[in-house]
Amino acid sequence: MTEPVLSLRNVHKSFGPVEVLHGVDLDIRAGEVLALIGENGAGKSTAMKCLAGYQPASSGRILLDGEEVSFASLHEGEAAGIVLIHQEFNLAEQLTVEQNIFLGRELRRGLLLDKAEMRRRSREYLARVKCRVDPDTPVSKLSNSDKQMVEIAKALGRDARVLIMDEPTAVLTNAEAAILFEQVEALRATGTAIVFTSHKLGEVKQIADRVSVMRDGMVVQTAPVQDMSEDQMATAMVGRDVSDLYPAKAEVAADAPVLLRVDGLDVPGFAEGVSFALRAGEILGIAGLVGSGRTEAMEGLCGLRIARADRTEIAGQSVQIRKPSDALRHRLCYLTEDRKLRGLLLDKGMRENLTLQALARFGGLLIDQKAEDAALTRAIREFDIRAGRRDVRVGNLSGGNQQKLLLAKVMQSEPQILIVDEPTRGIDIGTKQQIYAFLSDLAASGHGIVVISSEMQEIIGLANRVLVMRQGRIAGELAGEAITEEAIVRHAVGVGADPKERAA
């Protein structure tokens, strides 16, 4: 076996106090395709960024041809022949395709740009990836799949020794993915080392030579791809104990009234034909990969984005929800996954944030500040918000306290049906437990709760029933004992409900 071109040795990476990589070892060899798989948040993207010199490792070594290197910037990485294609594209939107392909390494003849040569080569690279865009088109006018192809054309132009791609097929159609794989094969044949991440285990099986499985910031298994079935890959990605972090699940009475019934919900571009029902006292989990349309479907349901449904019923009554205020009037409330960008006004105090969504409940023409203050006092006590001062800027609160404030804010509207999206993202375990307990109590008091989460454990620990979304549709439903990480992952990546069924 050849010596690795690029390796990570015991690499740790922390963001502030949070360590996301705990000693990662990876080897990338010339003429080989390595697939890096794992759940969301397992550390795949971070590991790739460390490989490419895009982010410095907190500790550990990066070896290039056996020599230790440290890249001060992405440019040094590129100079060494390592090209990273981001999940979010790294293209200058206002520049043309050709300008992007040669960005930072424009060809010159004397003092002036050699436009003829750049045009010739652009056409050649684009032809190699079978991309039919005109090199003069501004990148902002391209579709996502064309942008991906331009990124690859750009990498071809850089004569990459190591090509790192973060979910390259997430935005591609099957036909486009096939073209990408042809290029990957061609690059492998010329001795390029290739690393990619994917949630589609089928394509991992098809294109990779080796698979490294990451879980919780560590590589838990590396094996030649022929030695692992897709089921084994899915099992390796998950498999943890659910501790007593979660409150005991209450049974939902069989005759509990249906609070919410959604039929044929379409959110253009994100979700199609989403139908489900939610009973009083029930916690319904919605799982699926990031980008599966979970968030968009629920935002559409709550009137936060353009959507259409065949029929929406709340407490047995047919309702039309076109804007956020319609949802609130029917006591349907959504807690956003992005507390900093969509949830809280970081420049304002807790009082203004707490009451913003339900301001009409606090006074008439003029705001009743006394009532607001009383509500804040109640919220601080009920949600155990720990702030040094009452008038602290919300941006200065810790993530956990921000999340508790956000939950308190949403509760000011007194929802009967509460949809929480990633309710514990980026917060400590103690706060997580408090939030789980709160959601559980809320359900026990007859509310209906929908929990969207990328954390499998959270879904399994909380939900009475789970819907798994995949590519904008509900791919499966699990209840009771059938809710396992493996089952969820299988539905999420499209492997099928259970191995026997798939074999049949």
């Binding site: 913003l356 301001l359 023409l365 500040q369 203050d373």
Partner: protein
């Protein structure tokens, strides 16, 4: 005021930040300088004069405070004022043979100004919110349009109110109650209502939320577009109110009416501590900003210490200083 006392001890413990104190101190310093330089400065005549002249910009600046707080900007208000003034004069002159000199024709003129202001503000707001064009570009466009329209209406010269009408209308600028002239009374009313709306009403809170983060506001059941539209409409109406006060002063409108008012209004808002990129605004600060700008002008005219030609330079320095103070306050907070 029991509601106020709940939080008072906590808030009062530390001194207000420089962004609050700065404009107040600057205003006091200016008053002291003025009083030392010229004994007439604190005379009733001069004070009335300064306040009455401040009223036009001041009324507009109160509206501008809401627009900027909600994350917008309006460059068209000066031209809009000129256009409304021209339109008002044309309408009143045209109605003179029918209505004759009297209260009805004045009311007609006032209604014209208010409706024209409302429509002009709605137009700006519609283009900005519904069509999603940047406020700077939209209002730069309408600024040119209104300026050009008034020049065209006046055929390059001056539109003058009929002499008889002017005599009848004059008291609206020059008279008042108990020696306080109408523009000052109207200005004070606009400020009081504006301050209450900004700090105590739902609309003010929604403006600040919209300017602070459009996304958060949207996810918090704030109708972002309607809030923005309302700020532009309100500013338009206030431009109409200012014009109603302005027309009787000179009785005419021309291409040079209201030139640079938009920048003076924006400057007053910024000096007063409202954040240019939106999210935080205070109406009382805007009033102080307006007074600072007019006092500089007044002091330079009353004294011969510095040439009045340097007025703009001093105002410029004050604006930049105000923004530096704001930034320091933010860094600390």
């Amino acid at each position: 005021m029991a509601s106020e006392t709940v939080n008072m001890p906590e808030r009062r413990r530390k001194l207000p930040s420089m962004s609050v104190l700065g404009p107040v101190i600057a205003l006091l310093v200016l008053v002291a300088i003025g009083a030392m330089m010229n004994p007439n400065f604190l005379g009733a005549g001069n004070i009335t004069n300064v306040l009455a002249r401040s009223a036009f910009i001041g009324i507009i600046a109160v509206g501008m405070t809401f627009v900027i707080t909600a994350g917008g900007l309006d460059l068209s208000v000066g031209s809009m004022a000129a256009f409304i003034a021209g339109l008002m004069i044309l309408v009143m002159n045209a109605a003179l043979p029918v209505l004759g000199v009297g209260v009805p024709i004045i009311l007609l003129g006032m209604a014209t100004a208010l409706i024209a202001g409302l429509l002009a503000g709605l137009l700006n707001g519609f283009l900005i919110t519904t069509l999603g064009i940047e406020a700077f570009i939209v209002t730069l466009g309408t600024m040119g349009i209104y300026r050009s329209l008034v020049t065209w209406l006046a055929d390059g010269g001056t539109l003058s109110l009929d002499f008889g009408l002017r005599t009848f209308y004059r008291p609206v600028y020059f008279d008042g109650i108990l020696g306080v002239s109408w523009p000052i009374i109207v200005f004070a009313l606009v400020v009081i209502i504006g301050e209450v709306v900004m700090s105590r009403a739902r609309f003010g809170r929604h403006c600040a939320a919209t300017g602070s983060s459009e996304h958060v506001a949207h996810y918090s059941n704030v109708n972002v577009n309607r809030t923005r539209l309302a700020t532009y409409a309100m500013l338009g109406v206030l431009v109409g109110v200012a014009t109603i006060m302005y027309v009787p002063r000179l009785g005419s409108a021309s291409a040079s009416t209201g030139v640079l008012w938009e920048l003076e209004a924006i400057a007053a808002v910024i000096i007063g501590g409202t954040v240019l990129k939106g999210g935080f605004g205070r109406v009382w600060g805007t009033v102080i900003g307006v007074l600072i700008l007019s006092l500089i002008d007044n002091i330079l005219n009353l004294t011969d210490l510095v040439s009045p030609y340097l007025n703009g330079a001093i105002q410029g320095v004050i604006i930049i200083l105000a923004v530096i103070l704001q930034r320091e306050a933010k860094a600390k907070g």
